[in-house]
């Protein structure tokens, strides 16, 4: 039994076949060409669906369902992308269009990409076996996906779960969304890079020594690596970053008390040491600590395939 998951991103379209064990058996991708008309993007998705079936050796008729993980506001009841920031979608009936392109042979579901990734982790990844979980993606931004009662929760208008845009510091750092002080402005990889650059500038100005001065390019890893090498200035950056990240996670726990929070995105590549840094702060800050069963904080398992697997399982 096969399902197809489509991860439609601003840069690439990835289409994969998922088997009954929820394993990704084959994946193909092409550049999105995000400025093209939506219909051309759908035509490419349809072609990838046909191609990936050929590679696996199955027919479209063998595909139980197709799911699309898309940026923006995805109405999972109608299959319409109501709006997307980085793709030319406005009230775009992507599910019906793809179904028609494929001869009406397979049903197509859609979901917002961060939500689909959370659903993937809940079905086959770090939150497998749980009923309620939250996934937080620490990448260019901070994404969120909420699973309640074994379903994606996205509110009455399909726009919920924007966990990066909870304000953790009123009047704080400017966020790309227009608000000030959003969690994303403190806990994304972009924010960590900003904090790292600020510390390097501070060291340069004061003549303080740090190995980060010699870094050829500043990434989300620069401070983490330097900190592990014993650099004091880097440890200050890392500790500051962890403080904000832990505060936001404790807030998510106080709201949802989910069984599992999984952390994905580039920063989650730090692995267990990231969780070891976060846990003491989270346990101290969460409500009911010591009285209630504790939310498990885990590194996401499916990496970049979470969206495809989640979409396939919609």
């Amino acid at each position: 039994m096969y399902r197809i998951g489509v991860d439609l991103g601003g840069t690439n379209i990835a289409v994969g076949v998922v088997n009954e064990n929820l394993e990704l058996v084959k994946k193909l991708s092409v550049p999105t060409g995000a400025t093209r008309p939506g219909e051309e993007i759908v035509a490419d998705i349809a072609k990838l669906c046909v191609d990936v079936c050929k590679e696996v050796g199955c027919e479209l008729e063998d595909i139980v369902s197709i799911g699309i993980a898309t940026p923006g506001i995805a109405n999972h009841d109608t299959g319409v992308v109501e709006y997307a920031n980085n793709l030319p979608f406005s009230q775009f009936p992507i599910a019906d269009l793809l179904k028609a392109q494929l001869g009406g042979k397979v049903n197509v579901k859609i979901e917002n990409d961060a939500n689909a990734a959370a659903w993937g982790e809940a079905c086959a990844g770090a939150a497998k076996g749980t009923t309620n979980s939250v996934m937080i993606t620490l990448g260019t931004g901070v994404g969120g996906g909420i699973i309640i009662d074994n379903k994606v929760y996205s509110g009455f208008n399909y726009a919920g779960g924007e966990l990066g845009h909870i304000v953790i510091s009123v009047d704080g750092a400017q966020c790309s969304c227009g608000r000030k002080g959003c969690w994303e402005a403190y806990s994304s990889a972009t924010a960590l890079i900003r904090m790292t650059k600020e510390k390097i500038e501070e060291c340069r100005a004061t003549g303080r020594k740090t190995v980060m001065l010699d870094a050829p390019k500043i990434s989300g890893r620069t401070a983490c690596d330097a900190m592990r090498a014993g650099d004091e200035a880097a440890k200050e950056v890392y500790d500051e970053y962890i403080k904000y990240l832990a505060s936001g996670i404790a807030t998510i726990i106080n709201i949802f008390q989910p069984e599992v929070i999984s952390l994905g995105g580039g920063i989650s590549g730090e692995g267990q040491s990231l969780i070891d840094s976060l846990l003491p702060i989270i346990r101290k800050e969460q409500y009911g600590g010591g009285v209630v069963k504790m939310t498990d904080i885990r590194i996401a398992k499916l990496g970049n395939d979470a969206g495809i697997i989640g979409a396939a399982m919609l």
Copy 2:
């Protein structure tokens, strides 16, 4: 058809009979005596149930169900209060005890008091007719109740929905929960009173005029009333309070995108003018503004009876 709702508070126990139109037809109350053994509190609840039936002219056998709204962590699956701050409950099987006291004649359900109030507003109040709603209670603290898919959501350990304990200002004002910067420390009536007192002290120290200097007692209303009377210093307090309250509400919208957020508690007595002050900020700060259907912000309707009605409808 009658149901009974019990609102068990730190100060009073209120027991009411709710009819099939979800109207509270009769209410009785006694002091809680919060330091007594739990069994004595349950005995008083049982007596009130019998008494209130007599007053309404029905028999216990006519009661479809009894619900208890209790402080603390209420396991609505087992009927056990796992822990309460202000009552002597620890793993206390309150539902079974009450059922036994009433001769096993009526089933007893329990829910946390803030959650029960949110459920009451969803069944019969400001959020009637909606599937997903959030209630925020602006009283001594900031309470929260989350309704998803026509059910109370409280997480895998029944401790979720602590919306007062989301941090809106990292390293900010001290909260009674131990964290710094909780929403409760900025948006409760207690916080408004603190801000009012601070402004009065500032005026006293600088010789600035404000009618608030003459207030015999500072309450949550002092700044609101003085602001409406044209007092500039009071307006500064009010605007500051509104800024924090609006920020938290926009955050709740970005997370849940519920159909309705209802505002209860003492501060909600300000009525529509409170909402009129909040809306421009919320609409500007919420994610997807202008693209998605908007969450309606309403004043709660049931006042102090929300808990009883919500408990009756569990």
